[in-house]
Symmetry: C2
């Protein structure tokens, strides 16, 4: 019965068009200042209909976040696909994440939502799960690069790939968030270039991971 299939497709399209509307409103106004009425208007639907497709405003927000993850994951995958050294792959990952934060700032910002337990009490289990899975997929890319780096002698034997992934990722995230902050009058006062800070912190962390042998081929600038 193709009637049912068509229905299903149409339903999916509607969901997507609602997502599109939500995304553009959230991008423009952020979570708090966006209203369901505005999203409904942009989607050319009534508010009631929104709730036929998504359970809550938080769910819509999480849905957009999941789109952001799709973009990020694809960039990370690209970053590790070329046939290059472990070090180069790690550098590529760093660049990919940095470019993501610069070119998809809105998604990057929205990710913070997942970190404030405060703000996603209303989100549905399903969407929270989806976002968790995506987040895990992103981690796996990095963890694997580090694991391979240990095998191929780039990184020391006694480092833990998971721990190391957390350290590198957290560090990059924290510093990139700093760069994104608008109210950084004191940072301007202190006269720091955040890009330099990011670069240095990465170099510091990576340099302690390297084996003596690997250091002969790559010397991070501290």
């Amino acid at each position: 019965m193709s009637k049912i299939e068509r229905k299903e497709r149409e339903k999916q399209l509607r969901r997507e068009s609602i997502m599109n509307a939500a995304e553009s409103v959230f991008f423009e106004k952020g979570l708090i200042s966006s209203t369901m009425d505005e999203i409904a208007e942009k989607a050319e639907l009534s508010k009631g209909t929104l709730y036929l497709y998504y359970r809550s405003k938080d769910d819509l927000y999480l849905g957009v976040i999941c789109r952001g993850f799709d973009v990020l994951i694809s960039k990370l995958s690209e970053a590790v696909s070329p046939n290059v050294s472990t070090i180069q792959k790690l550098l590529n990952i760093g660049s990919a994440y940095y470019n993501f934060s610069q070119n998809h700032t809105h998604y990057f910002r929205m990710f913070s939502f997942l970190e404030s337990p405060q703000f996603h009490t209303m989100a549905s289990k399903e969407l929270l799960n989806e976002s968790h899975n995506q987040s895990k997929r992103a981690w796996d890319v990095i963890i694997e690069v580090i694991s391979n780096g240990i095998k191929d002698g780039t990184f020391r034997e006694n480092i833990d790939p998971v721990q190391m992934a957390i350290i590198l990722w957290s560090n990059a995230t924290a510093i990139m968030k700093l760069k994104d902050r608008k109210d950084q009058f004191w940072i301007e006062n202190l006269n720091v270039d955040i890009d330099t800070v990011l670069q240095k912190s990465n170099a510091m962390l990576v340099s302690t991971m390297l084996t003596e042998n690997a250091k002969r081929f790559y010397q991070p600038k501290l």
Copy 2:
């Protein structure tokens, strides 16, 4: 005229008692779920009166944050006051911040508020300024320790104290936040101990700061 002084004192007391009420409600329910009515009830005042003393809910929240800063700053100051080596001072700062995040978790959590431009649009310039100043005071403690460390030969000459402070602080904050997250099912799955991660990341960063000479006296465990 002591009448006026007394009035002033009473006004200050009222402000504080409102702050107390706000703090206990915010601690219990977080920013979003706390209502002005509830805070008013706890303060044994009407909602209208709250607005005679604070301009908005966000201002109340920021006020509580400033209290948190007071606590943190005093802990940091304590940490650097003993007459010990630079390394020990830096370790003390790390412990002080960690203990703060554990013993004053609510304050620690609230600090995130300052990082989401999203959520403090309504806060008054005065309170934002106060919080900025406090934040700067906290930074200064760390920056000074690092600066002195360079002078006394503990840290390399070519590191920038401000940059280094940002790196160490951001790293610690990011990882301590991770520990605080409730939805860390995937972290549990990955079987990582966040305390270890924090310790290692600190050791990695500090080890790259040390001069050859300093390394003879202190070997961070990587």
